[in-house]
């Protein structure tokens, strides 16, 4: 519904109606869903009272999908079809995945993102994550007794554009309306900050299952301003398991385990790590498929030694974030620990030593992100009118363009406050040049090959001119979710070559629609019928809004554009008459697309009408 919902904010919802919104922590190891009820945030448990949902998805023989504990229980028996830690593959190509050979999965490289071969066919990490999100959505709707208005989904602050886009796509695929992608450390800060109503500079140290993030935040009068963020999107508790696993292999003199044994031993390694949080030493026992028994003893000192480099590796981004924020350790008022992996005593000690103070651990490190996300979802859904707060987040990695010689030129520096836009002008290099290749990158390194490639596109239709005469302006816009849109136009000739690109790792709307259609193939008829009714209602209201807009501002359209929109309206009417949900949605989608430019022009006109020289402070 791109068109014309120009109403005062807050008026659309009935005033006393509580809108159901949730916060979802889509974790590498575990995921959670939380909501705010009667003013208090709480995690929603499953029917057995368990808060955590293991982020494990298993594709079964009969076409069913098991998510959570049921899938986890089978992971060593069915390793190829049971996917754990899928978050590590989000927005990643095969070349990005370190130790791909050590994983029990069959990877294939696909355009944009790696896929995993399962008995249900090739699955992209987006689809697998959507299965996890769908389970959480069902849990929330069953528990809250209604449909969700929207969800806030958390992502590691250090996620790049491709990883964020993949997360948002997964949520859309699961049928969730994403109110906001929220950085995990920021979510944790909300949960802590509001409990303690403190002002000052806080450091959030977030070591999850597969990602490490550190954020430095300043809290002032209800504003959470992120000063800097840093981290490592491929470092987490899993790596500690892996060190224990490698240690066990070496101790037992083993090599080249099969997928089943490898998964079994990794599970034992994780249990040993968790046991060492409470105990000075633990046993690691396993029976391998060839009958060989493993029985090892691991004590805390050995564990600390074999994982010391990992702990040190987390302290570098902490120092880097302090440097970027221009903050010394003495300026830090509190250090918040987030993520199950921060339960490890030697991590708490290392962080405590660095900052000269005991880190805050009074909220459950597994739940704090979901709780903060739920609080933010409650605000964004419009349930909270007074004393709400504002989050000012930053972009974690610089954005740039490839220039001559394989070098990157930074356009938006890291840690810039979002949203942000930056335009850069380019010119042609040869006489008569009509096309130009643009390569968008994210990262801090100077060489293109060291940065992540986000999008590559060719700008065509530049009017032929002498070299250097054309002026092409490329605009980067990063929204509050940290998602990038790039547009380009030629300025001199009045000919506008205007394009919008999506990062190459993102899914196109068509792909999302296809996946949605695929996933709908199995559902019951009554759900189909409801979808059809909803599609008709939505399509009709879009058509009505379009006609009203033409009546009001039809002068903004050329005859051709008007004809195209009229044709789109006709197609919607035909599709409704045909009673087919997919066709109706497609026609509505097409009409939406046709009216995008019109909507933008109407918005501009509305903004222009409002431009009467008011100072913003007077509003």
């Amino acid at each position: 519904m791109a068109l014309l919902q120009i109403a005062e904010p807050g008026l659309s919802a009935a005033p006393h109606q509580h809108r159901l919104a949730v916060g979802i922590d889509l974790g590498t190891t575990n995921s959670l869903v939380a909501t705010v009820r009667s003013g208090a945030a709480g995690v929603l448990p499953d029917e057995c009272g368990r808060s955590l949902l293991p982020s494990v998805v298993r594709y079964l023989d009969d076409g069913d999908v098991a998510v959570g504990f049921a899938a986890q229980a089978e992971q060593s028996r069915d390793p190829h079809n049971t996917i754990v830690s899928v978050k590590r593959f989000m927005g990643r190509g095969l070349a990005d995945i370190s130790e791909a050979a050590a994983q029990p999965y069959r990877f294939v490289d696909a355009p944009g993102m790696v896929q995993l071969i399962t008995r249900a066919g090739p699955k992209s990490p987006v689809e697998i994550s959507a299965d996890i999100l769908r389970a959480l959505k069902q849990r929330a709707e069953a528990s809250l007794g209604g449909e969700l208005v929207g969800a806030v989904i958390t992502v590691p602050a250090y996620f790049d554009d491709a990883q964020r886009q993949a997360t948002k796509d997964a949520a859309r695929l699961a049928g969730l309306n994403v109110l906001r992608l929220l950085n995990e450390p920021t979510a944790a800060a909300i949960a802590y900050g509001l409990d303690n109503s403190s002002e000052g500079v806080y450091v959030v140290y977030d070591l999850g299952g597969g990602t490490f993030d550190v954020s430095i935040l300043k809290l002032t009068q209800g504003v959470f301003e992120v000063l800097s963020t840093s981290g490592d999107s491929a470092l987490g508790g899993d790596d500690f398991d892996h060190r224990v696993y490698c240690w066990a292999l070496a101790q037992a003199g083993l090599s080249g385990l099969n997928a089943h044994d490898s998964r079994l031993l990794l599970t034992c390694a994780r249990e040993a790590k968790e046991a060492l949080t409470e105990h000075a030493s633990t046993h690691l026992t396993a029976l391998l498929s060839d009958g060989q028994a493993i029985d090892l003893t691991l004590d805390q000192d050995t564990f600390r030694d074999i994982t010391k480099t990992l702990v040190d590796k987390t302290l570098l981004p902490v120092r880097k974030a302090l440097r970027d924020a221009r903050i010394g350790v003495d300026d830090v008022k509190g250090v918040v620990m987030v993520g199950g992996a921060t339960r490890m005593p030697h991590i708490q000690k290392a962080v405590g030593d660095l900052f000269g103070q005991t880190p805050l651990t009074n909220l459950d490190p597994d739940k704090v992100v979901a709780l903060g996300a739920a609080m933010q979802a409650n605000v964004l859904a419009g349930n909270k009118q007074d004393d709400d707060w504002l989050l000012l987040d930053v972009i974690p990695l610089s954005l740039g363009l490839e220039t001559m010689g394989g070098l990157t030129e930074k356009i938006i520096p890291r840690n810039s406050t979002l949203p942000i836009a930056r335009a850069q002008e380019f010119t042609t290099f040869k006489d008569g040049q009509t096309a130009m290749s643009i390569h968008v990158l994210q990262g801090e390194r100077e060489l293109v090959s060291d940065c992540r490639s986000l999008a590559q596109f060719v700008l065509r239709g530049i009017p032929p001119m002498v070299a250097g005469a054309a002026r092409i302006r490329i605009t980067f816009q990063v929204d509050a979710d940290g998602l990038l849109a790039v547009s380009a136009r030629e300025l001199t000739s009045g000919v506008e070559a205007h394009i919008e690109v999506k990062p190459s790792y993102g899914l196109s709307d068509e792909e999302i629609t296809r996946m949605l259609t695929d996933s709908l193939a199995h559902v019951q008829d009554d759900i189909e019928a409801r979808k059809l009714r909803e599609a008709i209602v939505d399509a009709e209201s879009l058509a009505d809004a379009t006609r009203a807009a033409i009546a009001a501002d039809g002068d903004l359209l050329s005859a051709d554009e008007l004809a195209a929109i009229e044709a789109g309206l006709g197609a919607v009417a035909d599709a409704i008459a045909g009673n087919r949900t997919v066709a109706i949605n497609e026609a509505a989608h097409q009409l939406n697309r046709l009216t995008e430019t019109f909507a933008a022009r109407r918005m501009d006109r509305n903004v222009q009408r409002a431009l009467k020289g008011h100072n913003i402070a007077e509003l």
Binding site: R19, R180, R319, K320, A480, V607
Partner: protein, 177 residues
């Protein structure tokens, strides 16, 4: 949603149009504006409003970023006064300034080769002191003397120092991380 994209950045934040600036006042004015126009305030609004909020919040952040940096603020004041700072075209600089630049560069290169982070950090502090002196001159030129051409020269000088500072930062980072 009334938002004047044409008013200058100082008016947006209700600040006097001058180089001298109360940083705390700017910070708090920016937070006030951001709180009103941030897209999160329109999370349950229509797409057109969301787009408008995105544009307004982007504009407010850009204005804040411009006013917060002394170099960008001076450049912006000159631009408002119709003076081109010629940072890319005019490279003529007094000989003593150029000589000092070469010395800076040599010192940075040496400290980097010797992996001497402490020396780099000292260079950064020295540089900040020089930059502060230039900023003081800029304040006089822009706010008191109305010497716009002189201010443009100072902007070009300050740009050099900012690049040096960036170079030192990159060197420290490459040694530390």
């Amino acid at each position: 949603m009334n938002f004047d994209f044409k008013q200058d950045h100082f008016s947006l934040f209700g600040l006097p149009r001058r180089f001298a600036l109360d940083a705390g006042q700017l910070d708090s004015a920016w937070r006030t504006v951001a709180a009103q126009v941030h897209p999160d305030r329109y999370a349950s609004a229509g797409d057109a409003e969301k787009r408008a909020a995105l544009m307004m919040a982007t504009h407010a952040n850009e204005a804040y970023r411009t006013l917060k940096s002394p170099l960008a603020r001076a450049r912006y004041l000159l631009q408002l006064a119709g003076v081109d700072t010629q940072e890319d075209t005019n490279t003529s600089m007094p000989a003593d300034f150029l000589m000092a630049q070469m010395e800076w560069r040599e010192a940075i290169g040496e400290a980097k080769d010797e992996h001497d982070v402490a020396a780099l950090e000292k260079l950064a502090r020295d540089l900040q002191r020089d930059a502060a002196a230039l900023q003081q001159h800029l304040g006089v030129a822009l706010d008191d003397a109305g010497d716009l051409d002189g201010a443009a020269v100072l902007v070009r000088k300050l740009r050099f120092l900012e690049k040096l500072e960036q170079e030192i930062g990159d060197a420290i980072e490459s040694l530390l991380f």
